[in-house]
Symmetry: C2
Subunit: 297 residues, 2 copies
């Protein structure tokens, strides 16, 4: 029963996010056409929308209204999508397939992929800054947190460490630090911004949401590594087995397959524990922790 | 006499901007070292700092305080620098020399150049969002204007049009529209944010500053084209004659050299006229219009 209610909630949010992205991306009829078309090509019609789902789940818990959540979800997803576009470029991971379709530099060209990513990042900040119903002081805080999560002490920093780690044997602690920046920072800010869409947060609430985010962030990466080692490209919608082929350190290469699966399960429990102070109300955040660990793609 | 006072004001602002960038960029000792080192390599120690100078000049006129102006100037310069780093990459202009030193993808590698640009853009928003002495509603407006100027209906949009114009013969109107986005949007927002560092602006004031910015934005580009056609690489600190070699439409290719010089002079007068409502106080903005037209590099 809960599973079914969760699935229909998730489906509803994913449709809402699609509508919100459509509304918050520049129209393809606006100049420059090709850039806008390419931004829409990569941002619309695909992806699990994990970050938007986290924002909506936290928004539910803290009473965020629908139109603010739609913008918050669009903003975090745009940052995520831009990072994928740049990450797929030949000078980075050189990947041809993403979310089951050709990557931007393949469907268009490299220069367009570069600009699409750059413009999506700016668009994310614009979508968040354009909200006109939030208390401005809280909105400035949200913009600051998004910038921090996206930048060199967050996502970009994690990618830089990732890049420099190819061929190195990282310790588990080093691997964890990299992923806390590369993926964890944006997952965490998705939760926090979703909550802030509703109201100001106490230090205790911020800490509990932070602990939840840390656990699901790591779980997300552990499961990614497990899937990369065990699933096939068609299921993943991207090239499987890339990490081993690229000689990248992963949880599977450091801990082994079974211990990695056990770690994911342990992190799922930690995520649930972090939500204890919020009681029954944190239903969707708990469901998402389960989803992140149990997903097959 | 005025020239000398202006020159020492300019020198003082440039030193202040260098200090501000140094303070507002992540330290190279913070992880990830290479990324932070490369961000500092490209952002520090070079450049005419035209956008920061415009922000300070407008800030002077509207009473902006020094610490807010330092952050506004850092933010607009970081956006500018990130655009240069990405623009110089092999998939764009493929340039080896910038501000008299090797470009980031030459001094480091392409992947680092990509991440340096991405991280500098996020850092720009963070530096602006981190100001804690502005009325939050005005600060949200400033963040919104910066995002708009940097994104697909501003700088990135202009670069996309530029990219698609190689080998085409643009009309003067099309060329003007491209430059209004590519360079004009960031010059304009530098002026507006500098003014907003001081106080809220009336619609009339916003319009006058917009007219000034439009004139100097176009003048800036016309002069760029003239210099690209007439100066040498050592003077420019970047490869001269690139536009013709790349078959890019320029004012010189459309209007010819002498009419381009006359146009620049006419735009300088228009910039002065736009400042008339502000009287003597707009001294530094007038000086900068003169500088933009009369510069040799």
């Amino acid at each position: 029963m809960t599973a079914t209610a969760f699935e229909s909630w998730m489906h509803e949010v994913q449709q809402e996010v699609e509508r919100a992205l459509d509304a918050n991306l520049p129209q393809a009829t606006a100049l420059p056409h090709k850039l806008h078309e390419a931004m829409r090509y990569t941002a619309l019609g695909g992806g699990k929308r994990v970050r938007p789902l986290l924002a909506y789940a936290a928004g539910d818990l803290f009473g965020g209204n629908a139109s603010v959540l739609a913008r918050v979800a669009s903003a975090v997803e745009m940052i995520h999508v831009y990072s994928l576009v740049h990450d797929d470029m030949p000078c980075m991971d050189d990947d041809d397939l993403r979310r089951g379709k050709p990557t931007v530099h393949v469907a268009y060209d490299e220069a367009t992929a570069l600009l699409v990513g750059d413009a999506l990042q700016a668009q994310a900040f614009q979508v968040l800054a354009d909200i006109d119903t939030l208390p401005p002081a809280r909105q400035v805080l949200m913009l600051r947190l998004l910038a921090e999560a996206a930048g060199s002490s967050g996502m970009c920093g994690g990618q830089a460490i990732d890049l420099d780690s190819v061929g190195l044997s990282l310790t588990r602690e080093e691997l964890e630090r990299m992923h806390q920046l590369k993926t964890g920072a944006m997952l965490r800010v998705s939760v926090i911004l979703g909550a802030l869409a509703g109201r100001d947060l106490s230090a205790t609430e911020m800490e509990a949401l932070g602990a939840y985010s840390k656990a699901i962030g790591l779980a997300f990466q552990v499961v990614d590594d497990v899937l990369d080692a065990t699933a096939d490209s068609a299921t993943l919608g991207k090239t499987a087995g890339k990490d081993a082929a690229d000689n990248k350190p992963t949880y599977v290469s450091i801990l082994g397959l079974e211990p990695s699966k056990e770690l994911a399960e342990q992190l799922r429990r930690e995520a649930h524990e972090a939500l204890a102070p919020f009681g029954e109300q944190a239903l969707r955040l708990r469901d998402l922790a389960d989803l992140i660990v149990q997903r097959k793609a």
